[in-house]
Symmetry: C2
Subunit: 335 residues, 2 copies
């Protein structure tokens, strides 16, 4: 039975546990500062498939398989799968997961999908409706560039504040029993819109929503950044991170000492020439399902916030002169 | 507290009530056999906006406003909004709903979205996490044709088994208290794939998933079609409906006497020249939030099944030679 605390936050009574996780990334992510943390990596952007989109589906399928194998579970042991991605009509998820035969809850939260899927899965478990659920998402640099910006073959120059979509996928298995860190609270965000229209500046588009969700969480729980080991954001990158600090400071919170951004962890921004950092659904997903989970296992983490940040744009809306609204969802993980 | 019954079905203990609903449709839908049932209709495909996509967003916004007005609620009275649509990156929902300031759960289930959103909302309410939630979706003939098939200006000929995307939106408000029909059970479907590749034959792509979800529901609840006043499918149209009858008959169920398809209710297929019937997220959504709800109010219905059926294709997957997987989600509504 979940309990609403404050305006937005939901406290889970059964403490759904993350009993397993799996991650797979691309070559550049593997060569990055936390490359050794991921379960698998690919060296060919096509992953043996005929298109980038099919490769992305295979990434998602592989992340789920890794997570299942680690705890010796089969797809039929899982009640529900919560998934989404950045591709039009979320084909990364539907084609990647169709062979599992698990009831499928399709989501669209752009890069907020990992916290959205984990949050929904944990509420399903808390409600009693579900015993075991998987939350998974993915992104692929090549399929995202082709869809949102330009086909890679154009060789177009990226702006300094542009982020690089992570090629990768992360999956976690949540359960009403077993061992592992648990999801204690969830805060779902509202859509915020600061009229950012620059499609190369996702960080600026997402920072206001990150601030809004975080502020609500702190108010609802009567806590401050100092109460958490680390506060992870999904993929604000270097530009969005500075904006978040500024916005939070106006609200009276000093985030700097406790904050890390998955998009800034996954690449060496200068050495790997990725400009403002990593982005994409697969960014926070693969970091959660590796680096973050490992630190719970080693005892370094006891209580963190994980907030995925999404920019709800499409090329169509941008071509029509629309702004880029943002949405951020947050989960509080403890052990 | 929700209870899992059988393999797939979830029974809700708190019986979340549908306390309000709102619908708005296009001109052709208003001229159809149930046109008088809808709350509002538009006469201009642009709905006073500059693009079909913006018109679709406005449809969704309007459906929510109608539902709120009927019970004198404001957006701030609503805990969560569950929404999705057919447009790339679900911009119909994100741009349509951003002004409400309600925590936003973005979904992608193609035409299965209405049952998906209502099912998720009811589980949130049952879990205690939410008091009042809105489930909403939309579609627009012109934005869907442009995105999935051809721009209308091409004047391309539609095949006889093609369906016409409904221009419309339907929203329902679910609550843990109040009066109205309630959601008693939910069954989320898995993705099924019968290797249908004809993008003009959505009915055939969705019928196997409809059969799968329905069969699971009957087995889980130990009921038969005769136990329900009507079993509504979303938008199988004339081709998909016949296929569903055949598939269900192989499983030992005679559906004919109890079945109706929202896609066949909304248009006069021959008189309105819509070929195999209506389709799109807005089809089952607008029929649920008008025709079906009215029959609960009049006392004609006591116990129905409402199953939205989705085809998980995108132009990209079809161009790459992929099949069209289907997914169907079901809610059991009683009074």
């Amino acid at each position: 039975m979940a309990v609403k605390i404050g305006k937005r936050t939901i406290e889970l009574q059964t403490k759904p546990k993350i009993i397993s996780y799996g991650s797979i990334v691309g070559k550049l992510e593997h060569e990055g500062p936390i490359g050794h943390e991921f379960d698998k990596h690919i060296t060919d952007s096509f992953f043996g498939e005929k298109s980038f989109e099919k490769a992305e589906s295979k990434l998602q399928k592989t992340a789920v398989e890794i997570a299942l194998e680690k705890v010796n579970l089969k797809p039929c042991d899982i009640d529900k799968i919560f998934a989404g991605d950045l591709l039009n009509q979320c084909i990364g998820s539907s084609f990647g997961l169709k062979s599992f035969g698990i009831p499928f809850i399709g989501l669209y939260g752009a890069c907020s999908t990992m916290a959205l899927s984990a949050g929904l899965a944990s509420i399903f478990i808390d409600s009693g409706a579900t015993e075991k659920a998987i939350a998974v998402t993915s992104s692929h640099f090549c399929s995202a560039e082709r869809q949102y910006r330009f086909p890679l073959n154009y060789g177009s120059q990226r702006t300094p504040n542009a982020q690089r979509t992570v090629t990768g996928s992360g999956a976690i298995i949540l359960s009403n029993e077993g061992e592992g860190p648990y999801i204690d609270k969830v805060t779902f965000g509202e859509i915020t819109d600061y009229d950012i229209t620059d499609v190369n500046n996702m960080g600026a588009a997402m920072a206001p929503s990150a601030c809004d969700t975080l502020k609500h969480f702190f108010e609802d729980t009567n806590t401050t950044p100092e109460d958490y080991d680390v506060i992870y954001t999904g993929d604000l990158g270097s530009v969005g991170t500075l904006l978040l600090y500024e916005l939070m400071s106006r609200e009276g919170y000093d985030l700097k000492c406790r904050h890390a951004d998955c998009g800034l962890l996954i690449f060496d921004n200068e050495g790997q020439d990725v400009h403002a950092g990593g982005s994409g659904c697969g960014c926070s997903a693969s970091v959660l399902a590796s680096f973050i989970m490992h630190r719970f296992e080693s005892g370094d983490f006891k209580n963190i916030l994980f907030m995925s940040t999404g920019a709800l744009l499409s090329p169509t809306s941008s071509f029509q002169g629309e702004s880029i609204p943002g949405v951020s969802h947050l989960i509080n993980i403890k052990i």
